[in-house]
């Protein structure tokens, strides 16, 4: 707190001119919501890695079956129950791709050599001699399809239902919420078993069954959000300007819920995959020769001791997909959460 007497020339004390329009200038670059969120997701290494893995898995789900010369549903009983063998990797003994299996007494043998099979089955074959590599990717494809469709239907029903219930409020809201509670109260499995008894087991009934029971959480989340936004001043401002209900919901409310909706959907995808696998595993799922990850695990389970690879490979795939989707959803939640803004 001292007066510093430094030499300053007198003309420095002449009035300066400042452009008044500049005082309102904003120097930060303009970032919209998506750019801002992407910056945050990018910081989360786990989420980015998971996203990359998901993209690769989805890509292979479509391309994978074309990479081998064998089709997923072609049976070749001569070559059944062959262990994984990959060209080039077969000589590296500690990798599980050398075409050997273990007997119960612990001795190793090579069924390819014993049965004089020339072909290379990358992930081995199942009890009917179908190529597991092709079946795995076909199964992933179907599992993902079911999960995405179920999540999409969930989202459409849930968002609409929740928005209507929250926005109208009053008696309508009460009735709609009681309906949700009843649906939540019935165990999923009962609904699904009934559905599948009525319709024949297949992709569509499974999607319907999962969607029918899954939308309630989305509806609840959206309703809570609508209730929150209903009294926000920007919504009141739109009302005083004479905006219609539709425009208030679609222009002002839903865009502000994108974050929550996306996160909820991202969490419901792995749930749907798991539920589908579970249904297939207990035999209510897809029918032969169609494959999903659940049916593959189920098939492998029957010969788990003799041919462990038949179950391990699809199980790893289920775990990988679930972990990745959960990590991405977690990363998105952190990115979208306005409280984390700094």
């Amino acid at each position: 707190m001292l007066n510093k007497e430094t030499a300053i020339s007198k003309d420095m004390f002449a009035p300066a001119h400042i452009d008044p329009s500049k005082s309102e200038k904003i120097s930060k670059p303009s970032l919209n919501f998506w750019q801002d969120s992407w910056l945050r997701v990018k910081k989360n290494k786990g989420a980015v890695l998971s996203l990359v893995i998901i993209v690769i898995v989805i890509f292979l789900a479509f391309v994978g079956p074309l990479l081998t010369p064998y089709k997923f549903d072609t049976q070749n009983t001569k070559n059944n129950n062959l262990p994984p063998r990959i060209q080039g990797l077969e000589n590296i003994h500690w990798l599980p791709f050398d075409g050997t299996l273990k007997r119960k007494n612990g001795t190793e043998y090579n069924p390819y050599e014993i049965r004089e099979v020339k072909e290379y089955y990358w992930f081995g074959t199942d009890g009917l001699g179908r190529d597991l590599f092709a079946r795995l990717w076909k199964g992933t494809q179907i599992s993902l399809f079911i999960a995405f469709m179920a999540a999409l239907v969930d989202m459409l029903i849930g968002v609409t239902y929740g928005a209507i219930s929250g926005y109208l409020g009053g008696r309508v809201d009460s009735v709609m919420q009681r309906i949700v509670e009843i649906i939540v109260g019935i165990p999923n499995l009962i609904v699904v078993v009934l559905m599948i008894l009525v319709l024949k087991p297949g992709i569509v009934p499974i999607i319907i069954a999962i969607a029918l029971t899954g939308w309630t959480s989305m509806a609840r989340v959206v309703r809570a959000q609508v209730l929150k936004f209903k009294n926000q001043e920007f919504v009141l401002a739109a009302k005083t300007l004479g905006a219609s209900n539709g425009s208030i919901i679609f222009k002002h409310m839903i865009p502000n819920m994108f974050g929550v909706i996306i996160i909820n959907t991202m969490f419901s995808i792995p749930n749907a995959i798991f539920f589908e696998a579970f249904l297939s595993f207990i035999g209510l799922g897809l029918q032969e020769p169609n494959a999903s990850l659940g049916t593959l695990v189920n098939d492998g389970y029957h010969s788990m001791i003799a041919f462990p690879y038949q179950m391990i490979i699809p199980s790893i795939m289920i775990a990988l997909i679930m972990v990745c989707f959960n990590l991405v959803a977690d990363g998105l939640r952190d990115a979208f959460d306005p409280k984390m803004r700094d």
């Binding site: 329009s21 309102e24 200038k25 904003i26 930060k28 303009s30 970032l31 919209n32 919501f33 926000q232 001043e233 920007f234 009141l236 401002a237 739109a238 009302k239 005083t240 300007l241 004479g242 905006a243 425009s247 222009k251 002002h252 865009p255 502000n256």
Partner: protein, 313 residues
């Protein structure tokens, strides 16, 4: 004063929440006042006194439990066709309190401001729409470059001015300002108040200015109403209210506001208000009475006489 044109007449307005239930709240309880064309009517009171609810009920954000609001002689409440409602929306607009919550964070400023223009079809082409937006931005002291930015990039004062531009887009005659400056910093409050005054003179606007900051209200308002628990207890021209507050609640409120003046603060005497001091009898009519011309107080007959005597001195 009586010769001036009444723009808005509020008659026995009631807004009860949870009506008929044990937790009934009489947020606005039998409130009547007029607003003259071209004036600024201030409404003050503490949180929960019903001043914001009054404003929101007038503009139909809530449906009134009872009473009527006449705008230019036409009742605003009651059943209306969509067309009538839209016309009404253009005449009466609102400015909100929280500059952070009053702008949709996902819309660009241009779309925020143009919302009213779009709803009422006030621009024939995209170009005209943008021209109007630029003009409005300039009116509130911002510029073209701000049109493509998002609300979170602006400071509180700037956002509040954007909110004003949004209200002005439909060329209203009457604006309800619901605590427009209480969330702003002192130096920014003056900017917004000056802007509102300037707009009032240029466009001949009428304001209902709701606030709890009495010094700003006194500065901007022609007349001030003081609310307490859903009722207006005193209503008078601004200077009169400050010089001669009659209702004990008004007196307590005025004595509680700290002035930016250390000398007078050292000698400040604070008055407290206890509703029991009125000692109203059960059948005693407590009404809104005109003590001196233009100065109304909610009081009983005996108090009325006492206030009249007090005002003559």
């Amino acid at each position: 004063m009586s010769e001036r044109k009444k723009l808005l007449e509020i008659k026995n307005l009631k807004q009860y929440f949870n009506e008929g239930k044990p937790n009934e709240v009489k947020a606005v309880d039998n409130v009547s006042f007029d607003i003259y064309k071209g004036e600024v009517m201030g409404l003050v009171g503490e949180s929960g006194c019903g001043k914001s609810t009054t404003g929101r009920t007038i503009i139909r954000l809530y449906d009134a439990t009872g009473g009527e609001v006449l705008y230019d002689g036409v009742n605003v409440h009651g059943n209306k066709s969509k067309k009538e409602l839209k016309q009404f929306n253009r005449k009466m607009q609102m400015i909100f309190q929280d500059p952070y919550a009053s702008l949709n964070p996902r819309l660009k400023i241009a779309d925020v401001i143009a919302e009213g223009i779009d709803i009422h079809g006030l621009a024939k082409s995209k170009q005209e729409r943008m021209e109007k937006v630029y003009e409005l931005l300039e009116t509130v002291g911002l510029n073209k470059e701000h049109a493509n930015r998002y609300p979170h990039e602006f400071s509180g004062g700037q956002r509040q001015r954007i909110g004003i531009a949004r209200a002005l887009a439909v060329q209203p005659e009457f604006i309800i300002a619901d605590e427009p400056i209480s969330a702003l910093d002192v130096s920014i409050q003056a900017q917004v108040v000056n802007l509102m005054k300037k707009l009032q003179h240029e466009k001949g606007l009428t304001y209902l200015f709701i606030a709890h900051d009495l010094s700003m209200v006194k500065y901007i308002s022609d007349r001030i109403g003081v609310m307490y628990f859903g009722k207006i207890v005193e209503l008078a021209p601004a200077d009169e209210l400050y010089r001669n507050p009659l209702h004990p609640y008004t007196q307590s409120l005025l004595s509680a506001i700290p002035a930016p003046d250390p000398i007078s603060e050292r000698t400040r005497k604070r008055k407290t208000y206890d509703p029991a001091t009125h000692n109203y009898q059960d059948n005693e009519p407590v009404e809104f009475r005109e003590v001196t011309p233009g100065h109304f107080v909610l009081c009983s007959e005996t108090e009325f006489k006492q206030y009249q005597a007090q005002s003559k001195q």
